[in-house]
């Protein structure tokens, strides 16, 4: 029998090469035509502590973790308890470990999983230049049915820089592991597959967000590193440069957000990326972007909060601050990618919207999206490329904040004669001069509101799928397990609608009502403790009479199985 999808966890001390093995397995799987997903977890040690790579592979697209684990490959038992909650061990799980690893920890044995010990360390010694992670990769390659060519290609390209000898050692290690697994009973082999000529990409959500910015037209970025957003910036630094843009490492987030306002004022689409604590520091200046109508994009990769919280784990708890963290009445854009590949689309679209509507856009990604790698189809090119409404040289009587029907006032870019104006965070008259008059205030407030609410966001505001009287409403990274839960429910003959909101601000009240037509029950799914999304829905939308909430804070991700349970128990 070949599996539809398999989940594998690889754990061990940081030095054991857990992540490398996981990554190579994913990449080789991709060469074999399989889709896949890999997430990481590690202990508090900065280096050398316990680490885990969680993989899922399948002949069809994969966007979230499963709720069962097929194989746990433990290179050693180092603090494996730390990952207990993330492992989903059961009696079907095959646990592989070294024959000399010592007593099987209680979390493993008590799960009823089948433990198979292999002479890994012994084998390492037998293979010249052998490393335990290559042996492990060999074992796994055999069990999942990786074609040899795929593995060879991945090993060769990963170790190209280290030279032919390293490549040969690794291949030998792989082979040794492959042979070790010969007698291990396991039905995890995936059905053979091909890429059907569609180009496959290997990309993380953070890289995808960076690329989305770049493709949307961003050419200036100011950066201050913070977990789990740093990779957005680290991907952009060398790549922006190639397309004629630049990245400045700033002294802090107060500087990075204001630097991008400066860049954007100069006509260059600009963005930054951060996480909760950094976003909080950016809120004052975000208001300046809104009031001065200077487009900017901030990708906020959420982590566990509050305060420093749990920097390496995911949560959806920055929804409130993204929506409401600006002082004063400050309408802006809040979007959220709902899958790893969607980090590209949503970021690119957000750049387009910010530029088109001359406002601040916050893209709410999260650690689960940002730091996971996915193997997916190459995304299609989009038409969303920054295009600001600007004035030509020498317009007469130019007024920067002129009151227009659309609410968007044409902008003058420095260098344009006749367009000279002073952008201001003080309330102002249409001619940009400070004003505290009630008429000017209301006129500009109306204008800044109108440009956002009247704009037609098309059907990108949400992913709406399926039919049925029950709707599951969600956003962001909980969308993938919701989707999978609904697929499983549909496989059981149920009919369920999914609404995953990509545009969280401005509110799409009418479209939401339309999407809910015929729905009598709504199940709301979110990963927060204080029910932020649920309260947001209550505040701004009409919900059906029956509403049920299933929420949980991080760090444990939502799983399809538990969502399916919620659906089934409510039907």
């Amino acid at each position: 029998m070949s599996a539809e999808t398999i989940s594998i966890a690889v754990t061990g001390a940081g030095g054991a090469g857990v992540m490398t093995a996981g990554q190579m397995l994913l990449d080789a799987g991709a060469k074999a035509g399989w889709y896949g997903l890999m997430t990481r977890s590690s202990g508090p040690q900065i280096r050398g502590g316990e680490a885990a790579a969680f993989l899922r592979m399948s002949p069809g697209p994969v966007n979230c973790g499963d709720d069962k684990l097929h194989i746990l490959f433990a290179f050693d038992w180092m603090n494996v308890e730390r990952f207990a909650a993330e492992l989903f061990l059961n009696s079907d799980t095959l646990v592989l470990c070294d024959s000399d690893a010592g007593e099987v920890p209680n979390v493993i044995s008590s799960s009823g999983a089948r433990v198979v010990a292999l002479p890994l360390k012994k084998t390492v010694k037998e293979v010249e230049g052998g490393r335990i992670n290559m042996i492990g990769l060999g074992v796994l390659g055999k069990l999942v049915g990786l074609p040899d060519e795929a593995v060879d290609a991945v090993i060769s390209s990963a170790l190209k820089k280290k030279g032919q000898e390293a490549i040969d050692f690794s291949k030998a290690g792989y082979k040794a592991g492959f042979d070790l697994a010969a007698n291990v009973e396991c039905d995890a082999a995936l059905s053979a597959c091909s890429t059907d000529g569609v180009e496959r990409w290997g990309i993380s959500g953070n890289e995808a967000a960076g690329l989305g910015g770049l493709k949307g037209g961003v050419r200036f970025v100011a950066a201050y590193p913070i977990t789990p957003a740093t990779e957005v910036l680290e991907w952009l630094a060398p790549n922006l440069e190639k397309v004629g843009g630049t990245l400045v490492q700033a002294e802090d987030e107060l500087a990075s957000i204001v630097q991008i306002i400066g860049g954007s004022f100069g006509g260059t689409p600009s963005m930054t990326a951060t996480s909760g604590p950094g976003l909080a520091l950016m809120m004052e200046a975000m208001g300046l972007a809104v009031a001065s109508e200077t487009p900017i994009v901030v990708v906020n990769v959420q982590r566990g909060g509050p305060s420093t919280g749990i920097p390496t784990k995911s949560e959806q708890s920055d929804l409130n601050i993204a929506l409401h963290g600006l002082h004063g009445d400050a309408p802006h854009i809040v979007t959220a990618p709902n899958s790893i590949p969607d980090c590209l689309f949503t970021t690119q679209w957000s750049v387009f919207l910010a530029e088109r509507l001359q406002t601040a856009a916050i893209v709410l990604s999260d650690q689960a999206l940002g730091q996971s790698r996915v193997v997916c189809d190459k995304p299609a090119d989009l038409a969303f490329i920054a295009k600001r409404d600007v004035v030509e040289a020498n317009v007469e009587n130019y007024e920067r904040y002129s009151v227009t029907a659309s609410g968007v006032s044409p902008m003058a870019i420095p260098g344009t004669p006749g367009g000279e104006y002073v952008a201001d965070g003080l309330e102002h008259a249409p001619n940009a001069r400070p004003s505290s008059a009630a008429e000017d205030h209301i006129e500009q407030l109306d204008k800044r509101d109108r440009k956002l609410t009247q704009f037609d966001y098309g059907n990108h505001w949400a992913d709406i799928e399926g039919e049925g009287e029950m709707a599951v409403i969600t956003w962001g990274s909980t969308t993938a397990p919701v989707r999978e839960a609904i697929e499983r429910a549909e496989a059981k003959g149920m009919k369920i609608r999914m609404i995953s909101m990509r545009l969280l601000m401005p509110m799409q009240t009418e479209k939401f009502a339309e999407a809910l037509k015929g729905v009598t029950k709504a199940l709301v799914i979110e990963q927060t403790h204080s029910k932020q999304f649920f309260h947001y829905l209550k505040a701004y939308y009409d919900l059906p009479a029956e509403v049920k909430l299933f929420n949980r804070p991080g760090p444990l991700p939502m799983r399809p199985g538990e969502i399916l349970e919620q659906i089934e128990s409510w039907s």
Binding site: A222, E251, A255, G262
Partner: protein
């Protein structure tokens, strides 16, 4: 300036707007405004290629009184805004402006890091040793015994901030001090600052007649520095650390490395994204 008539040398008034300043009659900032516009005229940058960027404060109101592009941003952040603008639009003549509170209190970190980064722009600080806009509290440059603020009724009791010494230690490339009572001299300092590559600090003693009326005495206290501008960091350090705050002129002129990204396209987006292909 695409017109076909002969190009006339720009005048200071071309860089002034017709908008009436909110400043108190007699405020030193009026003449700083003149100096800034004179400096633009001297350099001759077409006004659409000039930008004046500020934070919040009386002094930070200056952009609207010029006729060039400008940004009246948030308190303390003139320098990062100017940095983002200049780095992405290197051809513009970018002048950041503001007060001692804006620049050295809430904006102090950006000040240090702008000095270090050494982007080619000018920073004009109108120093009146007080927060004028919020009605008279001590600023970092206020003397420790000034006890006229309700917030510090016995004076701050702390050593005044030394902007020029800090600028030097942090890495600024051009350091000068002017006095608003000498608008021509100050205009020249600003123009020299514009010509000098890298980050140039021009501190201008600019009295607050409302909350620091005693600053009218500054007129009799300022004097042109006796020694020429130096490029020796050690000498400049000694000089600035022992300076009484009333020597005017260019006090340091360096040749530190200027931050200037290339902004040249070498690949298409398609080439860049090809690296994700497996």
């Amino acid at each position: 300036m695409t017109s076909e008539t002969a190009v006339v040398a720009p005048k200071a008034r071309d860089y002034k707007s017709d908008y009436k300043p909110v400043w108190c009659p007699g405020c030193g900032d009026f003449s700083v405004l003149s100096s800034v516009t004179k400096a633009f005229a001297e350099i001759g940058t077409p006004k659409e290629n000039c930008a004046v960027i500020s934070g919040i404060g009386c002094s930070s109101r200056i952009p609207a009184y010029t006729s060039v592009y400008g940004f009246h941003g948030v308190h303390g952040r003139a320098l990062p805004l100017a940095t983002g603008l200049k780095v992405s639009r290197p051809e513009l003549n970018v002048v950041a402006t503001g007060g001692d509170g804006d620049g050295f209190s809430i904006g102090g970190n950006h000040f240090m890091h702008a000095c270090r980064r050494n982007v080619d722009m000018v920073y004009v600080v109108m120093d009146n040793e007080v927060y004028g806009m919020t009605k008279g509290q001590a600023s970092p440059t206020t003397a420790p015994d000034w006890d006229k603020s309700k917030l510090t009724p016995h004076g701050t009791g702390i050593n005044p901030f030394q902007p020029l010494a800090i600028a030097l230690a942090a890495g600024a490339n051009f350091i000068a001090r002017g006095f608003s009572g000498d608008p021509n001299g100050t205009a020249k300092l600003i123009a020299d600052a514009m010509k000098h590559p890298g980050f140039s600090l021009v501190q201008i003693l600019s009295p607050c007649v409302t909350f620091r009326p005693e600053q009218k005495d500054w007129k009799g206290m300022v004097r042109p520095a006796e020694i020429e501008a130096t490029s020796d960091i050690g000498r400049a350090a000694r000089r600035l650390m022992t300076d009484d705050g009333f020597n005017t002129g260019i006090l340091y002129k360096g040749s530190r490395n200027v931050y200037r990204p290339a902004l040249e396209e070498s690949e298409t987006v398609a080439e860049v994204e090809a690296t994700f292909a497996l």
